[in-house]
Symmetry: C2
Subunit: 365 residues, 2 copies
């Protein structure tokens, strides 16, 4: 891709001016506008000549003959890669973030959901949160609870505070004591190990117990493989404001409703080491008019999940990147240091935050 990385400085400046302007106004940008832009000190005629070149090289298009230019995906890409720094948040936004992370508390799911709301509010794009996978979190506790005569619930608590459950159909009526024993056995076999790593089974004299243990282990394996296709989408209504064609809105929203698609989109982008995917760069046609900004989430030093933003290709990349990165960093801090295993990591601030309602009750008891 030689032409992607090399553009003489003037062309680059012109491209930058066009992209910035277009992001702001959503109107095709003409040569005069560009010529008047600070930093451009040539005439509109020269700008026009350069625009022709930029168009030939695929950075710009003209919606129709007598209109200004708008950036192509390639144009945005160059803008993002070469012309802009991630940017920083405005003071008001910084304040919002700070305040948010001071106040937020509760279970992880709630927190992720609210974080998604925050991110969307900061940027006015739709936001996406890919929860940290529980793959590597060690099992902390396993329990079998009888619900009905031939129905039990397997409840697995992971060290990161996540609780997974699965109903299990029993072959026979099983007493609560046997269930408890089976739960204990399974816990012994799997504790302190990640969900996926199931021990080979050991047999006892008790056929019924063995069977229940087997069922539970199966369910645990099932838990390990399934589940991880969940994603939290927030502020999707803001996409309606970003597009003017109602049909575009509909198709984008309907794509966003398919969790699986969103998850794989994000994973794809992350895997390719990108933080931005523009228009057709990701292969999802219904989202061809969208761009995705992703920031991986790193909890206690290892990557887990991600936060992202979905907006029109003419999104404000610097701001979106800044917001995603700041929020992901703060969220990562927040999720780590306390719920994760390493002992002694419960620092004062985090624990303090997490108290809230609890605190009052605690004082009383």
């Amino acid at each position: 891709m030689p032409d992607t990385q090399d553009l003489d400085p003037r062309k680059a400046a012109i491209l930058e001016a066009i992209v910035s302007e277009y992001i702001g106004t959503a109107q095709p940008v003409g040569s005069q506008h560009v010529a008047r832009t600070a930093g451009i000190s040539v005439s509109s005629a020269t700008v026009r000549a350069e625009m022709v070149a930029l168009e030939r090289e695929g950075f710009l298009v003209q919606p129709h003959t007598s209109a200004g230019r708008i950036p192509t995906d390639k144009g945005y890409r160059f803008f993002v890669d070469q012309l802009t720094e991630p940017g920083i948040l405005g003071p008001a936004q910084r304040h919002k973030v700070a305040k948010f992370f001071e106040q937020v508390h509760g279970e992880m799911e709630d927190m992720l959901e609210r974080t998604s709301g925050l991110l969307s509010e900061l940027t006015s794009y739709a936001s996406v949160v890919l929860p940290p996978s529980h793959e590597s979190a060690p099992v902390r506790s396993v329990q079998l609870v009888g619900l009905a005569p031939r129905l039990a619930l397997l409840v697995v608590v992971l060290a990161d505070g996540a609780v997974e459950k699965r109903t299990i159909d029993l072959p026979d009526e099983i007493g609560d004591d046997v269930l408890a024993a089976a739960g204990a056995r399974v816990q012994a076999m799997t504790a302190a190990r990640p969900l996926g790593a199931t021990d080979e089974r050991t047999m006892t004299k008790d056929r019924v117990l063995d069977e229940v243990v087997g069922l539970a282990l199966d369910a645990m394996k099932d838990l390990a493989t399934a589940e991880d296709d969940r994603v939290i989408v927030g502020g999707s209504s803001r996409l309606a404001a970003a597009f003017d064609a109602v049909e575009t809105v509909r198709s984008v929203l309907s794509t966003l409703e398919q969790q699986l698609v969103v998850v794989s989109l994000l994973r794809d982008v992350l895997e390719r080491g990108l933080s931005v995917a523009i228009g057709t760069e990701h292969g999802y046609e219904p989202l061809a008019s969208c761009a995705v900004v992703v920031a991986p989430l790193s909890v206690d030093g290892h990557e887990a999940g991600a936060v992202g933003l979905l907006g029109p290709t003419r999104m404000n990349y610097p701001q979106a990147l800044a917001a995603a990165r700041v929020v992901s960093a703060r969220l990562g801090e927040r999720l780590g240091g306390g719920t994760e295993a390493p002992p002694g990591r419960v620092d004062g601030r985090t624990a303090e935050d997490r108290v809230t309602k609890r605190r009052g009750a605690h004082g009383r008891s």
Copy 2:
């Protein structure tokens, strides 16, 4: 409301024709169209005269002088109350429902989410599922699991298979054995009783244990009061197709994103004993161009939660009502008879359905 209930048969027929036509076409309906409708055997001039009357009485409006009439909320209301039966689903839809409930399985959350998708697909409106409240479900198991030195997780399993959790900050490092003991104590104090009904506390000799038990009981009370403002929204992208003004779409979607608003809207409608709320009838201005259809969910004989549909006021009420009712009935059956306490209720079919993946594993073990 004398004029709401009394309309001479001809007026009613004309109103019905207009509403039906408008629901189908979204175009103002003229007198000629009505006169040509089967069942109307008067001239267009007569229809016009009646239309004037209907407009005076508030059932119809004219977008502008030389246009046809469109129904007002009051017009729809009369249509729903007096002119139409709930209707039945078409064979294709029946088949979809049957197939869906044959296949669906898994945890309740998944099932509700998929059901919401089904309902939306059936009607092409947005669908809403208000999960059965756990208020009355008795506690089946309580457990305290240590996550970090001064952090524990309270895990409560209810008889309906729901699992609730809460992190608890501990005043001190507490050993796993004490946590387990505290969990057991709390379980003894609360088991078989609904979440809200907390026992008065009994003291032991052990101050630390008492404190942990106190914290756990507080957390349980907290669980009982909070939480119940959750709602599952599905197919909201279909609303984009229902409205043509992108601003309407945005505002409706953004209202739908506020779980709390949706919950109280549904509760309001249910409390007033309605199954349909049209336009401004419910007091939520941003949804003034929407109608809501609700069907309460009855699980094992008692009302719990609801399913609903949200569409434009010109929605197909008979079909929407039919879909909501059928789905709510089937879902109620499915949620009951097995997960709920009464022993022996695990009938063959339900248990069979629930097996799926499990079954294979079971055979193998």
